[in-house]
């Protein structure tokens, strides 16, 4: 698998670091990791840069993860990297809503590196 550029979107800086560490522990070779504290910051980053994978929380201030995924679909195809949601919101309706808006995977917190691998690798291989 090629080196990938990842964007991690979470209002917790601790959780952003844990997600990055989990990606590396899952054997994903990261060329670059960008971080955003909410959906609006993530859209701003994608306005000037491209990434290969987006890991995104749902419950965030300013712009939540579901609204971010919805607005991401309006961006150029080159900017629409696959999104995997990583969130404490584990309800069926959230999963269905996220996937219907365009997310490609869904991981519930708390999560292990193995669960990250299980959900992220297939998305990168598509």
């Amino acid at each position: 698998m090629e080196k990938i550029r990842a964007l991690i979107v979470d209002d917790s800086s601790v959780m952003r670091k844990i997600v990055e560490r989990s990606l590396r522990q899952a054997g994903i070779d990261l060329a670059q990791v960008r971080e955003a504290g909410n959906g609006a910051e993530a859209l701003a980053i994608l306005g000037e840069d491209s990434v290969d994978l987006i890991l995104c929380d749902i419950n965030m201030p300013v712009m939540d993860g579901l609204e971010f995924v919805r607005q991401l679909q309006a961006m150029d195809a080159a900017k629409r990297a696959p999104v995997v949601m990583i969130t404490t919101e584990g309800s069926e309706s959230h999963v269905v809503q996220a996937l219907s808006l365009g997310a490609r995977g869904y991981i519930r917190k708390p999560f292990t590196p193995d669960q990250v691998k299980e959900h992220v690798i297939p998305v990168l291989e598509q």
């Binding site: 209002d11 917790s12 800086s13 601790v14 959780m15 670091k17 844990i18 560490r21 419950n59 965030m60 201030p61 969130t87 404490t88 919101e89 584990g90 309800s91 069926e92 309706s93 959230h94 519930r108 917190k109 708390p110 999560f111 292990t112």
Partner: protein, 162 residues
């Protein structure tokens, strides 16, 4: 996290919530911090309340979930999460305890089948310092657990509205 321990809110009363809250907390600490929480035998182990993390619940279940501990314990939690020394984790301890509280709340509500879809979580709030009084308009009681994290006491409480 889904598990065989999921129970129906309708099928089980609130007396079943205490072990579920313990299980939810234990899973979060094991998975995210690599540490086993131990039940407290000595009730004299109540922690100094220097850090209080709170997550609100709204919907079919309304209330607040809190996690209370002292500064040293919060720093240790952050260090375990980040894999660094406690001194290095100091600037992150509010963020870390807020996120732990958030995951415990989410894991707990996901164990109550039928509730997950009907209950939303707030983003976490963290208070430092213990010189305050908590006035919650909860009128349906409190479920509180006291557990030991690396020999440090922590209190996790769910204040419930009717």
């Amino acid at each position: 996290m889904n598990s065989a321990s999921e129970v129906s809110v309708a099928a089980q009363g609130r007396e079943s919530w205490l072990p579920l809250l313990q299980l939810a907390a234990t899973e979060v600490f094991e998975i995210m911090l690599g540490t086993k929480l131990e039940p407290v035998i000595e009730t004299s182990a109540l922690p100094a309340c220097e850090i209080t993390s709170m997550v609100g619940l709204a919907g079919q279940l309304c209330g607040v979930l809190t996690l209370r501990c002292d500064f040293a314990t919060a720093a240790l939690m952050a260090s375990k999460m980040l894999g660094v020394e406690p001194q290095q984790a100091d600037p992150q301890l509010w963020d870390a305890t807020g996120e732990i509280c958030n995951m415990v709340a989410g894991n707990f509500k996901n164990k109550l089948t039928g509730l997950s879809d009907k209950c939303m979580l707030s983003v976490p709030t963290v208070i430092s310092g213990g010189d305050y009084t908590f006035h919650l308009l909860a009128d349906a009681g409190t479920i509180e657990i006291l557990m030991m994290f690396e020999n440090h006491p922590i209190v996790i409480a769910l204040e419930v509205h009717s």
